[in-house]
């Protein structure tokens, strides 16, 4: 029974990683079209460096991902703490909206934002993408932080108040350090969501600001060029390094 | 013949030995308690019998049949879990009926037996409630009912009363004992509460660090502890480390600091010996003339605490050691009039001490 369980888990893990492994291998494959291995090459990485529009789209994506996840983390963390600590008129509405946003199909959010931007005649580009991605990420940050807050001992907050701490000090000096892992997790989740989002971006992006998923989408339909494999390999390694680094720093802090 | 037999049972978790060569026989219809501090292995024994864990070595025989290879659902044992482990999504009735349904008992018999046991534990009007709607004591009864309705050969109770508050626990102790008599099922009860063990059990098994320290009736365990651990775990005890001076076939003379005591014993005593005396076996007098034994101490009173039925005295010996004495309270007792710092004489009646060789 134990071996059956272990092998089932292993097969699932293997299948999850298979496409990525193939993608990475292909980024070093000398053959352009065939699936056959035609020898090791770094040509695609070289070609990638010369493909300015692809590099630009990647940089744009990273920029949007960084800013939107930072802002979403700030808004979401404050929001989660507010929902945890205070009672106010409209709280139920806010909570329901957040849960609905998480489960709602991205296309619904995409077209609704497109409509808003059209109604306000806001030109599609950096700002519309930024707003859309923040809106996409905020509910996920709130839920991540709220989970952590649920296990938080409320008497600690009362103790801080009792000792004379004001609201902001309580948040900054007492609550924030305790929920920091969740805040960082929320940030990382937002970063991933933003970087990978296709559907919402599809509706709110404009020709003035091209981001990677949309660029790739238009390219994939014509057949992917191997330099995209190279680009994805680089970004995959990059994200893994960032996450491992943050995990490591977090562990250090906790010591 | 014993109903349940543990033969040379051992259990290791990785390198840690939780149980070391436990052998134990449990008789049919008995109320047996495994007593010991947390981590002594008592719960592990229960889990091995229940089939939730496998022994590292040794055998378990139930009614003469080896059961250690059977999965828990094929054993004629049932467990009352510490946290009750009631199924939260089922009503009280369905919880109790669960085991009968699993054994494919006919529906009308299930209904009859569940209703019968519900009446026994006085929960008939709660049959359709969910466990979360019941009080702690009621949940406890459901857990017991759910186990006994299957008529197991032996009922295993794991710290089953420890989640209840003091008063309720006292009531449940009595109810549980009565239930056991009524059902005639063998109970194997695990607790760390010595009072609970003393008041409920036919026999007690005192455990420490994975081994059995002593098996005996509550009276034997309390009055004739075989080890210092047992003496100290069951109630308060004063210990005096003495050395033997001389011994004949009727008495022994031992030395404690600068005093010597005469003990009436026929037992052979080793050179280093511990004299154990329970606080309630010590007599306290103000005047030296009232002391009726050569085995006495002169002490200074450090503290008095009034406990309702007893008055507990903390007394300091000349050498600085502290001993405890408790006197049964009565209106005429001198004890309440004692003042802190006053000199008191303490002695014990010949033969009330326990003599144990030093380990």
């Amino acid at each position: 029974m134990k071996t059956i369980k272990a092998s089932y888990a292993l097969i699932i893990y293997f299948l999850l990683y298979l496409p990525i492994g193939i993608l990475i291998i292909y980024s070093f494959n000398a053959s352009k079209y065939s699936t056959e291995w035609k020898g090791f090459t770094l040509d695609w990485y070289d070609k990638l460096l010369q493909n300015d529009s692809l590099i630009e789209a990647a940089m744009n994506s990273l920029t949007i991902a960084l800013f939107s996840s930072l802002i979403a983390t700030a808004i979401g963390t404050l929001g989660a703490v507010a929902l945890y600590r205070y009672t106010f008129y409209g709280k139920k509405f806010l909570q329901s909206m957040i849960y609905i946003l998480i489960v709602s199909p991205e296309i619904v959010m995409g077209i609704s934002l497109l409509m808003l931007f059209a109604a306000t005649t806001l030109p599609l580009g950096f700002w519309t993408l930024l707003i859309a991605h923040i809106t996409l990420c905020v509910p996920f940050v709130i839920v991540t932080v709220a989970t952590r807050l649920a296990g938080f001992d409320k008497s600690i907050i009362e103790a801080a108040k009792d000792l004379g701490a004001e609201e902001f000090t309580t948040f900054y000096a007492i609550i924030l350090p305790n929920i920091l892992p969740a805040v960082i997790a929320g940030f990382l989740l937002s970063f991933t969501l933003s970087l990978d989002d296709v559907i919402i971006s599809f509706f709110v992006t404009g020709p003035s600001y091209e981001i990677l998923p949309i660029k790739i989408y238009s390219m994939v339909r014509l057949g992917v060029k191997p330099e995209i494999n190279a680009l994805c390999t680089i970004m995959f390694v990059f994200t893994i390094i960032v996450v491992l680094l943050s995990q490591f720093l977090l562990k250090e802090r906790q010591k | 013949m014993a109903l349940l037999e543990l033969i040379d049972l051992s259990k290791n978790y990785k390198e840690i030995e939780v149980l070391k060569n436990i052998s134990l026989e449990i008789n049919n219809g008995e109320f047996l308690t495994l007593l010991g501090p947390s981590g002594c292995g008592k719960t592990t024994i229960l889990r091995l019998i229940g089939g939730f864990e496998e022994p590292s070595s040794g055998k378990i025989l139930l009614d003469g049949q080896s059961i250690d290879q059977l999965p828990s659902h094929k054993r004629a044992t049932n467990t009352v879990f510490q946290s009750y482990a009631l199924f939260p999504h089922m009503s009280v009735f369905d919880n109790i009926a669960f085991g009968l349904k699993m054994s494919k008992t006919p529906q009308d018999e299930i209904t009859r037996r569940v209703n019968e046991i519900l009446e026994t534990v006085q929960l008939s009007e709660h049959a359709h409630k969910k466990p979360s709607q019941l009080s702690g004591g009621q949940q406890q009864r459901v857990a017991i009912a759910r186990a006994v309705v299957n008529k197991p050969l032996i009922l295993l109770l794991d710290e089953s009363l420890s989640a209840l508050d003091y008063k309720l626990r006292k009531e449940m102790q009595i109810e549980l004992k009565m239930l056991q008599r009524k059902l005639g099922i063998t109970f194997l009860f695990v607790t760390h509460d010595q009072e609970e063990a003393l008041s409920m059990s036919d026999r007690i098994v005192v455990m420490n660090k994975g081994v059995i320290e002593q098996i005996g009736t509550p009276k034997e365990i309390y009055e004739e502890p075989k080890t210092i651990f047992v003496a100290k775990f069951i109630g308060e005890v004063n210990t005096f480390e003495c050395t033997l001076i001389s011994q004949n076939d009727q008495e022994a003379i031992v030395q404690y600091e600068d005093k010597s005591f005469m003990l009436k014993t026929a037992k052979t005593i080793s050179h280093d010996v511990n004299i154990l005396i329970r606080p309630e076996d010590l007599r306290v007098e103000r005047k030296f003339e009232d002391v009726r034994s050569p085995n006495y101490f002169q002490t200074t009173l450090e503290q008095i605490s009034y406990k309702g039925t007893t008055i507990d005295l903390v007394l300091k010996l000349k050498n600085g050691n502290i001993i405890l004495a408790s006197e049964f309270y009565n209106e005429d007792s001198d004890a309440l009039g004692y003042t802190i710092g006053e000199t008191l004489y303490v002695y014990w009646v010949d033969g009330w001490e326990v003599i144990l060789d030093a380990e």
Binding site: S34, T35, V103, P105, C232 | G50, F52, L86, P88, M102
Partner: protein, 286 residues
């Protein structure tokens, strides 16, 4: 909106999230709702002429088939994910505590690469001259290559692959929460493997099952790029349909009506989830 007793910090932190959600989530949805009752204009995008025509148009068999197909696609995807993920989540939830965070991160890591690129890598695996066929031919399991690309099977493979973690994570969370003593108690009372699963584990993990189902089913309804890339856009699904109404045909009111339909479906599922959650929460206080 706020209690008088709240401090300035409280007002600011509540205010920001409240304004953001109202402005960028509630208001846009309201616009879609209103637009769904309007008409496509010849000059402007939308003409302010209110009626139910968009909804009656959706009742056309052509469109009903689109909805039905999408519904079936999403449903089968969600069920496949459930069947694959449940044993996996159960195995994970019973590993030792120190390994669990690592095993969970290992599920999420593959999703740090672009889902589009992963979909493309899937194409490389399942296409006629792809790795899967090469492997199966080499093993002698098949004699002629399987034509998987641009079939429903390909779409299911892609959907399940992309959405599986959304099923695993809530299932894991709910299975992990089950008190192992409950399963021991069930075993003690005579329940074997199947009875434990059917009578104890599944009922107690219902919220996780429904949550996972929603997190797969709903995105699957709107996911247009995987059916496009792997299915060759042979069968139109709601996602592609709404996209086309907005970006190709420029019939925003009609697209809005379709989107509202999707929204109502989602709200209905949320309501179901909320109720199941409530039932279990009252159990949790046991």
């Amino acid at each position: 909106m706020l209690n008088n007793s709240l401090s300035r910090f409280a007002i600011v932190s509540i205010g920001i999230i409240f304004v953001w959600i109202v402005l960028f989530a509630f208001l846009p949805q309201l616009l879609v709702f209103i637009a769904s009752f309007l008409t496509k204009g010849s000059q402007q995008m939308i003409e302010f002429e209110g009626n139910l025509e968009n909804y009656t148009r959706l009742a056309d068999p052509i469109y009903l088939k689109i909805f039905w197909d999408s519904f079936v696609l999403a449903l089968i995807t969600a069920l496949l994910c459930l069947v694959i993920a449940y044993p996996f989540a159960a195995i994970l939830a019973r590993t030792s505590v120190q390994w669990r965070p690592i095993l969970l991160i290992l599920i999420i890591i593959p999703f740090w690469t672009s889902s589009l690129v992963r979909t493309y890598a899937l194409i490389a695996i399942i296409k006629t001259k792809g790795l899967l066929n090469a492997l199966l031919l080499w093993l002698g399991i098949i004699s002629a290559p399987l034509e998987l690309m641009y079939t429903e099977t390909a779409v299911f493979i892609g959907m399940v692959y992309t959405l599986l973690p959304f099923m695993i994570l809530p299932l894991f969370a709910s299975i992990e929460k089950i008190d192992p003593r409950l399963l021991e108690a069930a075993g003690d009372l005579g329940a074997g493997f199947w009875n434990k699963l059917v009578k104890i584990t599944i009922p107690l993990t219902m919220p996780g099952i429904i949550a996972g189902f929603m997190l797969v089913f709903l995105p699957a309804l709107g996911m247009f790029y995987i059916p496009d890339l792997l299915g060759g856009a042979k069968n139109l699904i709601i996602g592609s349909f709404i996209r086309n109404q907005f970006l190709t045909f420029r019939d925003w009111p009609f697209g809005s009506a379709a989107s509202m339909l999707l929204t109502f479906l989602m709200l209905a599922l949320v309501a179901v989830y909320y109720r199941s959650q409530k039932v279990v929460e009252s159990k949790d206080s046991a």
